[in-house]
Amino acid sequence: MEYIKCFMFGGFLCVIAQVIIDKTKLTPARILTSYVCAGVILTGIGLYEPLVKQFSCGATVPLTGFGYSLAKGVESAVDSNGLLGAFTGGITNTAGGITAAIVFSFLFSLIFNGKPENL
């Protein structure tokens, strides 16, 4: 049941993005950055935490979840270090995700090449 809830919520976030691509002129890049910003704002005003508790990775895996990590990182860093935490907290908390993205994309680019088909 937990898996199904995760899947449905994560999928729901993806559907919103797909509708935006199909129905508006927003580029994918703008949609991605909007998702991250939305995650930060919703966490800041306390609306995202309950979603994470309910749907766990369905809420943390999509890009809004990245915004959530950034915001939570800032929150805890400000608690310990004051204003400096506003600068250090976000990236510190998401360091794992960012490094994984760089390492895996580099590894895969060594193995695979871009193809024109099936774009």
């Binding site: 691509i21 199909d22 002129k25 994918p28 680019s109 871009g114 024109p116 088909e117 774009l119």
Partner: protein
């Protein structure tokens, strides 16, 4: 000298032509008309840009051979493509050591190079001229949007840049080949379209402008032509074009088509609104249309190359997308 249609009294003839395309085009409805269809869009090179240069080189080579000529016989060459500073054309043509004029008209480049090559021969400044244009899906994506590896989605109105090149060799009138007899260079038109994913809508107004200007300057009417072929407006753009000229009293519903619609089978191939790119009109004309002209199945046609004159900078600076359309008239009759 007024801004009239440039008429080629000496009727330069297209004595040879060649078309080379990539994998997707080789699976389309016109595949048997292309001289070379590569199953490998990399043409044995290690980057897309080098692949496009190789395609340009090969296409010109085949056209020159089919005309029973050698490199030294070509007096002047005109070529262009979509890459930065037309690198694919430069690198593709450099080994041939022919006097070279690089051109840029975005997707209208083939009509532009055909018109300029015909102008050079008709004016008498040279005996043989070459006109070529090319595009490659992968290098165009990197140029205008994102590299393939980014894996972004494209909306339904986007077109598929054709991986293809077309080359035509013009000489003095022979009497036994199709001839280029008129050229009407386009005027840059900007109707405020800002959507970089809907090129058809950006180019349709300039295409309509050129066609309306042509028929107002010419004694001929739409019915005098077997085919009025637009470069790459795609399905959406071509419909917009037809309604724009209808408002001006020109009816081309029955004898107009578009290279972007012809080159792919939209039922079987995922190409959204159709083909685009310099290579679209270049390969469709040099392969399919030339065949029809040589067999006299088409006798009197207009080719209108359509181009969207944006670059990545102008889009990011929120500029609209201007278009240009160059018209060439070709006849199979003597």
């Amino acid at each position: 000298m007024s801004r009239n249609i440039i008429k080629f009294k000496n009727k330069p003839s297209i004595i040879g032509s060649a078309s080379v395309t990539g994998k997707m085009e080789s699976e389309g409805p016109l595949n048997r008309f292309f001289d070379l269809c590569s199953g490998d869009s990399k043409f044995n090179m290690d980057t897309w840009e080098k692949a496009e240069a190789e395609m340009v080189r090969e296409c010109a080579e085949i056209a020159i051979k089919k005309s029973n000529l050698k490199h030294e016989d070509i007096d002047l060459s005109f070529a262009g493509d979509l890459t930065n500073q037309c690198a694919a054309s430069t690198f593709g043509m450099k080994d041939k050591k022919i006097p070279y004029i690089g051109l840029y008209g975005a997707c209208s480049t083939f009509a532009l190079s055909l018109g300029m090559a015909a102008l050079s021969v008709d004016s008498g400044v040279c005996n043989i001229a070459l006109g070529e244009a090319s595009s490659h899906f992968c290098s165009a994506e990197r140029q205008y949007r994102f590299p393939l590896e980014y894996g972004c989605q494209r909306p339904p109105s986007a077109q598929n840049t054709v991986t293809g090149a077309g080359c035509a060799i013009l000489s003095k009138h022979t009497g036994s080949h199709p001839s280029v007899i008129e050229f009407l260079p386009g005027i840059v038109k900007d109707f405020g379209v800002t959507d970089a994913n809907n090129m058809g809508a950006a180019m349709a107004p300039s295409c309509a402008d050129t066609v309306i200007r042509y028929f107002s300057l010419s004694d001929l009417s739409p019915d005098d032509f077997d085919l009025v072929l637009t470069g790459d407006l795609g399905y959406e753009g071509h419909n917009i074009f037809l309604s724009l000229i209808k408002d001006a009293g020109i009816d081309l519903e029955n004898n107009s088509d578009d290279c972007g619609k012809l080159i792919y089978d939209t039922n079987k191939q995922e190409v959204n609104s159709g083909g685009s790119g310099c290579g679209c009109s270049a390969s469709v004309f040099c392969g399919y249309i030339m065949e029809k002209l040589k067999k006299k199945e088409l006798k009197n046609i207009l080719l209108i190359g359509t181009g969207a004159l944006l670059n990545t900078g102008t889009v990011l600076q929120n500029e609209s997308i201007p278009g240009i359309s160059h018209l060439v008239r070709i006849t199979a009759e003597d």
